[in-house]
């Protein structure tokens, strides 16, 4: 017998009522089921069940996020050393700064998760594993840790737990946390100085993102390239930005993995990409300034900023997205549309993808309502 199982079997009575520790049943069950997937026998038809469960489901999202996370660590180090160091040294520098953010995010988040699970008697759910990793990926590497803690607390409590936990929330908790930090601590979250760790070797002002380029006359594409953001660079990700957002390539790779395994809805992802391409292309032909992101064209819009990360991992959070297929297309498309719109006409929040997703989260129930009305109207009534 597995020695671990022995430990669980010995401790089991303490956590089952009327055991002394039955108050902490939530933590115990969560730990136990993490190691040993329970296999309750079905009581009602159907008597066979698919092997997929939420642990598997969420661990696939984590799996898709891993390359993004690891690359994010590497890139943080790369930006610090300006590429002038060994690969391992750069990765190590990055990891040293990124890991604490992830640890704080998971630690504080779990505290709230467990507190609510214990107080309200529900299970500790797997959804948080994704939230806890997603939030750090949307943050700049220079963010103070106490702000991470505050952000994840807000996201988990106000974004999720007040609604009853994973599955019952309205907004993506990681995005709620991110938006909270964005509006609360704009100094830590935007501007040119936050995307690169303060480094003795590199000028901090050089740490601007591609989206902050523009507005000084000339053509935006050339200006962006001149500023050091060629399309390849934006695509592969060796440029300053939020920890996880820089590599559009790895984000889309993760998206592809999630689409193939059907964990994420391809309708949202494709819809979002179509939304960006169509809108960006439309703006290209509209009269408007040529020196801002207004006329940057589809490819620059697709690969820059947090769009790839957002559309692959945040927009596809099924809970906060519409539940109907037609709704998902519209939802994805509008996220793309608003992303480009904000970059084009809102100089205050050029990095609009996160807010666009949050905004569409709010309207997801409306989209669902309308599309359900239409679907129900098409059926031959049976009432």
């Amino acid at each position: 017998m597995n020695p671990l199982r022995k430990v669980f079997e010995k401790t089991d009575p303490y956590f089952k009522p009327p055991g002394q520790l039955s108050r902490f049943k939530g933590i115990y069950t969560a730990t136990r089921t993490f190691f040993f997937l329970p296999s309750k026998v079905t009581g009602m038809a159907p008597h066979v069940r698919d092997h997929i469960d939420l642990k598997r489901f969420m661990s696939f999202v984590i799996l898709a996020l891993l390359p993004v996370t690891l690359f994010g660590m590497f890139n943080v180090g790369y930006q610090y050393h300006n590429g002038a160091a060994g690969v391992f040294e750069m990765f190590y520098t990055g990891a040293r700064h990124v890991l604490p953010i992830i640890v704080v995010s998971y630690g504080v988040g779990f505290f709230w998760e467990i507190l609510f699970a214990t107080l309200r008697g529900h299970e500790v759910t797997e959804g948080f594993l994704v939230t806890g990793l997603l939030l750090p990926l949307t943050l700049p590497p220079t963010i103070p840790l106490w702000q991470v803690a505050l952000g994840i607390s807000f996201g988990v409590v106000m974004g999720k737990e007040v609604f009853g936990g994973t599955g019952r929330n309205l907004l993506n908790p990681a995005l709620t946390a991110r938006a909270f930090l964005f509006f609360s601590y704009p100094v830590s979250m935007s501007g040119n100085g936050v995307w690169r760790l303060p480094s003795p070797t590199v000028d901090a002002v050089g740490g601007a993102t591609a989206l902050s380029v523009g507005g000084t006359g000339g053509r935006i594409q050339e200006m962006v390239v001149d500023a050091g953001f060629s399309l390849e660079r934006l695509f592969f990700g060796l440029h300053p930005g939020s920890i996880g957002e820089t590599s559009a390539f790895l984000c889309f790779l993760g998206a592809l993995f999630l689409m193939v395994t059907r964990v994420a809805s391809f309708r949202i992802i494709i819809g979002g990409i179509v939304g960006v391409v169509v809108t960006a292309w439309g703006f290209l032909y509209l009269p408007g300034p040529t020196d801002t992101w207004f006329s940057a064209g589809p490819l620059f819009h697709l690969f820059s900023g947090g769009f790839a990360l957002g559309i692959s991992f945040m927009a596809t959070d099924p809970v906060s997205a519409p539940g109907t297929d037609s709704g998902r297309w519209i939802y994805g498309f509008l996220i793309g549309f608003f992303t480009v719109l904000l970059r084009a006409v809102n100089p205050a929040y050029v990095e609009g993808v996160m807010l666009s997703i949050l905004f569409m989260n709010i309207f997801a129930p409306l989209i669902d309502h309308i599309s359900l009305k239409i679907t129900a109207g098409r059926r031959i009534p049976n009432v």
Partner: protein, 451 residues
């Protein structure tokens, strides 16, 4: 003979599909009348324990319509009357008379096809009620015993539901062509239109039996393409057709047999599948035979499901096969925890998702009766509506029904739900969607039909 357009189905290949010809089993010691799972029937017992009965003696009566009788499937002594929750009669067990050759049996007057055509619909209905056949005709959308004797807009006879564990049509139709055709004539008398469907794979054997022309629609070879509710959903043109009826093909044969010969037909072909101790195959024996008689001795850690793995019930070996139920499946029921269950690549794990390596495997996979996870809140992933054969959005109906509201689930098509169980099967949150939908249907029935 029209092929129906392919719908959403269960695609995985599975182990334990019954193979080969029907083997004749020896005569069981007991048989039982198991009136079935319809939650709406209120039964009245007409016999007591130790009474002597013949094949065809009325044992039960529907309180709502005293003319609706349930006849005994065996001759002998009433050994036990088993009751379930709220003292509802579940089984009337009959010890068969020792001598198989002299089993007492009632005989009815035969009715020829010609005489049948001359009878009015009302007369046919009365004959069916008194001869115990009426309870086997089920009416949509509640799958209740039909309460009114009006004609049905349509009668759907599906020769195979598409679930691979069900009996193959050519086996139970063999040598029963006349009874089958006679049964169809009865249905033609009752319904404006009779629809007979068979999966593509059954068409060649049916042609050999000379029954291919009877098939009006060919369906996919996959579950639940052949489910009568799914077929009705696909071919109906108007809301009036929602009141159609359906009948199990073997019961249709029995009906034809009873009317043409006057004798109750007590033979059935059963499919035994999964991992039983005897080979997974077809067996011919009495109606209402004990489950253990059918599947053989049961090993530790196994469970028996009768009536299909997606829609049936878990039974014990000493229970008997219910009316209209023709499959028994033995599945593993290991109640052990899988170490790091969520992290295995899963080369041999059955899943409709693509999160296991098994989606790349070409071989077939085993099933078991475990949940494979813990119940969680719905995460709105929408896999249930990707599998629903009648295009429902089960998660929305579930959420609307959870507030006890009735209007919205009905508008979303709740009554079209055939209870195929695929939504529950694929749900990663392990929510029993099919069960919740079935419960709301029952609530709806109570509000509507029995106010």
């Amino acid at each position: 003979m029209k092929p129906l357009k392919p719908g959403k189905t269960f695609q995985s290949k599975i182990n334990g599909v019954p193979q080969g010809q029907a083997t004749l089993l020896e005569r069981p010691k007991t048989v039982a009348l198991v009136p079935g799972a319809s939650p709406f029937v209120k039964l009245k017992l007409l016999v007591g324990e130790n009474d002597t009965v013949s094949v065809g003696t009325p044992l039960l009566q529907d309180k709502r319509d005293p003319k609706v009788l349930f006849l005994s499937p065996g001759g002998g002594r009433v050994a036990a009357i088993r009751r379930g929750a709220r003292r509802v009669v579940q089984e009337v067990v009959i010890d068969l008379a020792d001598d198989g050759a002299h089993e007492p049996a009632l005989s009815f007057a035969p009715i020829s096809p010609k005489a049948l055509k001359a009878m009015s619909r009302m007369e046919v209905v009365n004959v069916l009620k008194l001869r115990g056949i009426w309870p086997l005709i089920r009416q949509f959308p509640f799958m209740d015993i039909p309460q009114e004797s009006n004609g049905f807009p349509m009668a759907v006879v599906s020769l195979h539901s598409g679930e691979r564990f069900n009996p193959v049509p050519s086996l139970f139709l063999k040598d029963q062509q006349a009874a089958f055709l006679h049964g169809l004539t009865v249905l033609q008398n009752l319904a404006d239109r009779v629809v007979v469907t068979a999966p593509r794979s059954a068409m060649a054997p049916l042609k050999a039996l000379g029954l291919a022309e009877q098939v009006t629609h060919v369906v996919q070879d996959a579950y639940p393409a052949g489910d009568p509710g799914v077929i009705l959903y696909q071919i109906r043109k108007s809301a009036a057709e929602n009141a159609s009826c359906t009948m199990d093909p073997q019961e249709l044969i029995a009906m034809g047999h009873l009317l043409s010969t006057g004798n109750v037909q007590c033979r059935r072909i059963y499919a035994v599948s999964g991992t039983p101790t005897r080979p997974a195959s077809h067996y011919q024996t009495r109606t209402g035979t004990p489950v253990s008689h059918l599947v053989g001795p049961l090993k530790q850690g196994k469970g028996i499901v009768t009536g299909g793995v997606f829609t049936g019930t878990i039974t014990s070996g000493d229970a008997h096969m219910g009316m209209g139920i023709t499959t028994a499946t033995v599945l593993d029921g290991v109640d052990t925890d899988a170490f790091f269950g969520f992290a295995w690549p899963g080369r041999r794990l059955l899943s409709e998702s693509r999160t296991f390596l098994s989606c790349l495997e070409s071989g077939s996979l085993g099933m078991d009766v475990t949940l494979h996870g813990e119940e969680r809140a719905c995460i709105n992933c929408g896999w249930c509506d990707k599998k629903c054969p009648v295009d429902l959005l089960p998660q929305f109906i579930m959420k609307a029904a959870s507030t006890g509201e009735m209007e919205e689930p009905l508008a979303l098509g709740l009554l079209d739900c055939t209870g195929c169980g695929l939504c529950t099967f694929v749900c990663p949150s392990k929510i029993d969607l099919a069960g919740i939908l079935a419960l709301s249907k029952q609530t709806c029935y109570r509000e509507r039909v029995m106010p």
